[in-house]
Amino acid sequence: MENKFINVKIDGRDHQVTEGKTILEACLETGIRIPSLCYLKDVSHNASCAICVVDVKGAKSLVRSCVTSINEGMEITTHSPAINQARKTNLELILANHPKECLICERNGNCELQSLSAELGMTETSFPRTKPTEASDETSLSLVRNPDKCILCGRCIAVCADVQTVYAIDFAGRGLRSKVGTYQNRGLGNVACTNCGQCALVCPTAAIVEKDDTEAVFADIYNSDKIVVVQTAPAIRVGIGEAMGMSEGALVTGKMVSSLRKLGFNKVFDTQFTADLTIMEEGFELISRIKNGGTLPMVTSCSPGWIKFIEHFFPKSLKHLSTCKSPQQMFGAVAKTYYAEKFNIDPRKLVVVSIMPCTAKKFECKRPEMNSAFHYWKDKLNLTDKENFYDVDYVLTTRELAKMFKKTGVDFSSLPEEEFDHPLGISTGAGVIFGATGGVMEAAVRTAYEVITGKPLPKIDLNVVRGFEGIKEAELDIDGTKIKVAVAHSLKNARTLLEQIEEGKSPYAFIEVMTCPGGCLGGGGQAIPTTWAIRQKRADSIYKEDSMHAIRKSHDNPAIKAIYSEFLKEPLGHHSHELLHTSYVERGIF
């Protein structure tokens, strides 16, 4: 589509800007940044904060530039003493009801309200607090809401409704009692929330944050009775650098490993190992479903937000989900059985910590059925039900890991690059790309093609499923057999594919779904900010890491071959069934 340009005057200078944009966007195009707060590109244009006001010649009052479209001949002033004063007053009104406890706040140093205050040169707040205080919402295993820190910008509501179609939160009440709330004030843990954490990712303040588990992990690290191992998801190596002050999308695998070792973890392993394992199990499950007339399309089950979404909103379609656990849960189960046995470690002393770009994983690891290792050992060690332990003990987000690094004085950039420990740290390029939308599909195809045909894959890169288009589809020719596949990221797109399935119109055999926009690299636990430009840089790093790997197909991973020959025997075998596969629950909407 060809862009049409219009002539406008901004701050006294003539400019040509693209038609159909808002004043704020058009000004940005000419290099003029208008301060804003509630506005968030691609997510929210609630126009509630009135920070982005500008003067338009002929208008009765200042206008909000985030929602006013720019028109031919407009004369706009973006900065003047009067405008600056209006912005300061509007910010002062917001600050009146915001706690001034920046020094002891989770988002200290990474808060948009804080940096805007600095930008506008706020030196005093003369208005008293008018809103009643409210207790925080700690009902969720993944997220904590602090209503007192909420500035009612509406970003969380917009992302939950428009990007994820979950609608777990909305404005409630009116006037001074307005707040972001859940149905009947039940709290996030008691409504149909998928725990995806996109709300926390877009929140400008600390009104929604992940549930902090760092202290508990520190306690276990410093407990000499415990053996604490850590697994890192693929997307961490392209996100933690940012959280430690490096450039956007910085690829820091080696530094991350050495930092984790310095932090005190006994072994540093890689979720990518079990991503490769997932490909083996899921690939064979798909082949078996196709051969034996099982339920198709089969949909991936790696993304716990997506799992909870389908359990809440499409419980009738659960049979379409792959029965494979997510790589994080496979890791926990394998670490506390295969690894513990192989290295003669008491599984009760073994603590598995996951570093995930994800808040939903915190919920996932506490699902009651995620204790396969306990059942594995129960008879062997004569365990009582009271001694129950989970396969994964703690999940930390990228942001929490950065906090731990900072607390322990890890100088992230100067540490040497180190390798993951063996054997659960050995992985392939197929494991890396799990971190980007389309990655599981590409990794699965790399293995399925060779398993089915017995021939080497002609071209490893499956570019058709890469990129950020909402729903990608492809027709794959596996030695004459054609199958259609689809890839969706963000739950809105997943909903579209599910509705297709429920209407009986889905043409696909295999569907990959990732909860978060862009896949795990844009996860709700990732570094803040996460924008589409940043997601792209993280994706570039993911595919770069894949291309650098000597081994790029899961079934070629020597550690995977070893675990099958030593322990699991075969994909979909008895141990796999007990440890690597799971079942789902019908939840419904509430």
């Binding site: 777990a168 909305d170 009440g173 009116r174 709330g181 149905y183 009947q184 909407i589």
Partner: protein, 178 residues
């Protein structure tokens, strides 16, 4: 609370209300309004909201948002009688606070209103006390509405008498005080 046998609005009644307004502008608001009217204690009970959401596909959070935005909607069972005290400036200067204090003698009422609740209902569900920002009847201040009837220039004695009549089921007596 469970001492009251309660008839919730039936599913078929809700279905009927939904279909009556389907596709019309502002259908959610009208539908919620009628469901509340159809309920025995004039409020939106949880079952009704759950059912409304499941039938209309309007998310529960949005229904709750609407229900908490408009003071018209009640999320708690309402009393048989409603007394609304105007707390506008004119009524305040003419003593409406005193009237509210008189009503607050009912057990639990004072605590609820001081805690920021916008309405209070007696445990026996006989009387609900609410406040309103302004009735727009400032010339008649202080103003109180009892079951939709406006009482003007209300005195402390009158409000006590009104309350007593309601409690003694002498509603008709109140009309003479009007």
């Amino acid at each position: 609370m469970n001492t009251h046998e309660e008839n919730y609005v039936g599913k078929s009644a809700i279905d009927e209300i939904i279909s009556k307004h389907k596709g019309k502008p502002g259908e959610l608001l009208t539908t919620m309004e009628e469901i509340q009217e159809a309920s025995e204690y004039k409020y939106l009970d949880m079952q009704s909201m759950d059912y409304l959401s499941s039938q209309t596909k309007v998310p529960l959070s949005q229904i709750y948002s609407v229900a908490t935005f408009y003071s018209f909607f009640n999320l708690k069972p309402q009393g048989k009688h409603t007394i609304i005290v105007c707390r506008g400036t004119a009524c305040h200067t003419k003593g409406s606070k005193v009237l509210l204090d008189d009503l607050s003698t009912m057990p639990g009422c004072k605590d609820a209103l001081e805690a920021g609740e916008t309405s209070f209902t007696t445990e026996d569900r006989l009387i609900t006390v609410k406040t309103v920002a302004c009735f727009g009847q400032c010339a008649l201040a202080p103003v109180v509405a009892v079951d939709g009837v406006i009482y003007s220039n209300v005195t402390s004695e009158q409000i006590k008498k009104i309350l007593q009549n309601l409690q003694e089921d002498n509603k008709d007596e109140n009309i003479r005080l009007c």
